[in-house]
Symmetry: C2
Subunit: 467 residues, 2 copies
């Protein structure tokens, strides 16, 4: 267990290996806007239409790298050559793509901010084609880390002060999910990651012990323990390869042999009934005078299992959590969208069944009373409402103005503070009986209704009745 503190260059992941992280229709629209001379300013809002039913709130995450990726967004010669091969776009448009750079503004919630359904977490304001072409990039980057930070918070909350380690890289949905996930987990309060790439890239503490295979490669578990501890005196020993209780006995025997030279940190249980095994192991270690050895538990854990173990008094010091956290197993996607809210100075919305949007540039205000968040108001951007505005400018004319988040512990602390200010039933693992109050400001409401009425009036009378 050690902490990396090297300064490595940032490597944005969506552009890795060459660009074009764009859905075809975005490029088709970019070209159409160019051909039609439609260069008016547009505002696109990113929001989650509905929270997953397993979540009382979400945590905004992923902005820092997204801003780098937007700054670096371009079409390489190779990209343009591929696009030419599609025979969809005229030569002058393709030539022009080589010079494409995003030159607009971005407003966003700070990473680590808790948010709710329909609240914009990011707004892009730029000429419409430029803003449109970022859709897939923006959604993919924000949804990954937002999804995973929101899940990890629950595990951290369930652990109730005990440490949580990220063991999920192997079964995450790809390398990007493993690496970005480790970042999101750290912001949500996970203490260490097993993944070296993530440790190096984000300066995160890394952790890891040994696999069952190591034990199996030796004639006996005792020999494997002795050999590993000689090389890594402060290691945690994995005890359940053959029989967890015998494994603990072997650890105790080794510790007694080492005597005052024993620097072992603890044992790890990775299978079986973790409650009874941890109690037994704890009692055995304590009565052998090894009260300082920690008990690490892993193996198919999620927040509900961690919560049950903690509430049952399992003497577990550190939870190693993998797969379920790394894929947000109970809610593996977000209903996140990138929607046009304004174009050329006028609000825009769609009326599609169940998918109505609110027009205009927006702001979100959060009110607190005695340090507890009481309610949010979604308003138009130029309104003033009581409380603190959550969207701030982070990019202007295509250049990031938000400082780079080099120290994740600052983000982690800010997230912890903002989450601690939520009402207890919202922070709880169980679905809240009373969703956090989010109001639409009267002005936004009336502008939405007026626009809706205008749009409906434009439809022929029979339109909404199927013939």
């Amino acid at each position: 267990m050690a902490s990396g503190n090297m300064c490595l260059p940032k490597a944005p992941s969506a552009r890795e290996g060459g660009g074009l992280f764009v859905d075809l229709y975005e490029l088709a629209m970019l070209r159409a806007y160019a051909a039609l001379g439609m260069e008016g300013q547009a505002t696109f809002s990113v929001f989650v239409r509905q929270l997953p039913k397993e979540r009382n709130f979400l945590i905004a995450c992923g902005l820092d790298e997204l801003l780098d990726e937007i700054e670096q967004f371009h079409f390489s010669s190779q990209d343009v050559a591929f696009l030419r091969s599609l025979n969809l776009f005229p030569a002058d448009f393709l030539e022009g793509l080589r010079r494409f750079r995003f030159a607009g503004d971005v407003f966003a919630m700070a990473e680590g901010t808790p948010f709710f359904a329909n609240e914009p977490i990011l707004e892009v304001r730029a000429p419409i084609g430029q803003a449109q072409v970022l859709e897939t990039l923006v959604l993919n980057r924000l949804s990954l880390q937002t999804l995973l930070a929101s899940k990890a918070y629950r595990v951290v909350a369930a652990a109730a002060g005990r440490q949580v380690m990220d063991f999920g890289a192997r079964r995450a949905q790809g390398a990007d999910a493993a690496i970005g996930g480790a970042r999101a987990f750290a912001i949500a309060g996970v203490g260490q990651t097993s993944l070296l790439t993530a440790g190096a890239r984000y300066h995160l503490p890394v952790a890891g012990t040994m696999a069952h295979s190591f034990i199996e490669a030796f004639p006996s578990e005792a020999e494997a323990f002795a050999a590993f501890a000689e090389l890594y005196p402060r290691t945690v020993l994995l005890v359940d390869t053959y029989d967890a209780i015998q494994g603990v006995r072997n650890v105790i025997a080794l510790a007694q042999e080492l005597g005052s030279n024993c620097l072992l940190s603890g044992i790890r249980l990775d299978s079986g009934d973790l409650l009874s095994l941890s109690k037994t192991a704890r009692a055995m270690l304590d009565s052998a005078g090894l009260g300082h050895l920690k008990v690490v538990a892993s193996g198919g854990l999620d927040e509900m299992k961690v919560d049950a173990l903690v509430k049952a008094g399992a003497p577990i010091d550190i939870f190693g959590v993998g797969t379920d956290m790394s894929v947000s197993a109970d809610a593996p996607s977000l209903d996140i969208s990138y929607k046009l809210a304004e174009y050329a100075g006028a609000g825009r919305m769609k009326l599609s069944t169940g998918k109505m949007t609110f027009p205009g540039r927006k702001q979100v205000f959060r009110r607190e009373e005695n340090g507890v968040a009481t309610d949010d108001v979604i308003s138009l951007a130029d309104e003033r409402q009581p409380g603190a505005p959550l969207l701030t400018p982070v990019m202007r004319n295509g250049k990031r103005i938000a400082p780079r988040a080099t120290d994740l512990s600052m983000l982690r602390n800010a997230a912890a503070r903002a989450i601690a200010a939520l009402p207890p039933e919202i922070r709880a693992l169980d679905p809240t009986p009373r969703p956090f109050p989010v109001a639409i400001s009267p002005r936004l409401q009336s502008e939405a209704e007026a626009l809706r009425a205008r749009l409906i009036a434009d439809l022929p009378p029979a339109a909404s009745v199927a013939p």
Copy 2:
């Protein structure tokens, strides 16, 4: 809609942006094996312990890129500098890492092969440290594409011959999942992807139409349709921004105005009751003489919804499927493992509760009768069983010997043939009442039992009873 056919260089994703896609414990073990002079040959098996309960089989996928990544696996100077900063490893080991190259053998099932619980889909045979250090890389790469191909097959099967398009990049769990997902989907039979990166990298047909935002940016839907169709005469028009039926009327009006110049391909429905809307839209188009226009449906689709629409006779020609396919929503992870099976010529296994493994190098044989797969046998590698062996050598001495899969349509055809040979209840979307028969060969069974007995005998008598 167009097909990319450029030859772009492969860009392996787990190494992008710098290496170290390794869990710390793998490196700790690599160093321990080196320090202890343990350089015997090891075999690690990759298998899925249990199928997700929503899957009757899985489809092996992701091998091609994994082999490239293994060939290129190395530690850069930057990687070594980071590792030095951990103060965990001695200088000579770190120096040696610069020369690390995987020099072992790999055996694997061909991509597109259906497989079942406990069947090894890949075996790594190499000096134990070398094989151990690949664990996270191998599992992450294989599990992503195996998970997503297995999900996508279900959508393709539900579509029953209608086309399926991948719209999922925006909500996939990261860029790697979006790009690798498009590849896995194509192998499982998905016809097109919206994601340009994936089209360029894998030479996949790309598809896309327009977003609601495009319609909203115009004074009216009719004007938006006319402008887009002038630039893209063969486009599909999105009709549900304000009112789907009125949208269809606007398409019909445009088609009539264009007359014999009308080259429109179809309409897209993205919300509402897709069954009734598609029927109404189809009838309207047909009675307007536009029987050749296709109906594309999208919006929150998964295989169950596609199946219900197809069975209800929805006249939908193309399904655009996104989020649920891209995250394998009903089964977002695999219980996939990388386990030591043999070391220094002797079988190895663990006895951990519920996690027992089988020792030795293995092979899987699949028998067919009259073109229908009847059963599989998992055997030791040197056994001969009736049927076709599924594991073949794909890498020798660190060099891939399997040809690079440049043409995914060959993989798709092979996968389709192998899946078509499965019994109907296994291919069905519903959980099979009778799992596909997978036997353990008598020799493997008896070796496992003998080793188990030996390992248990080594434990003190009271070991498995908690004190």
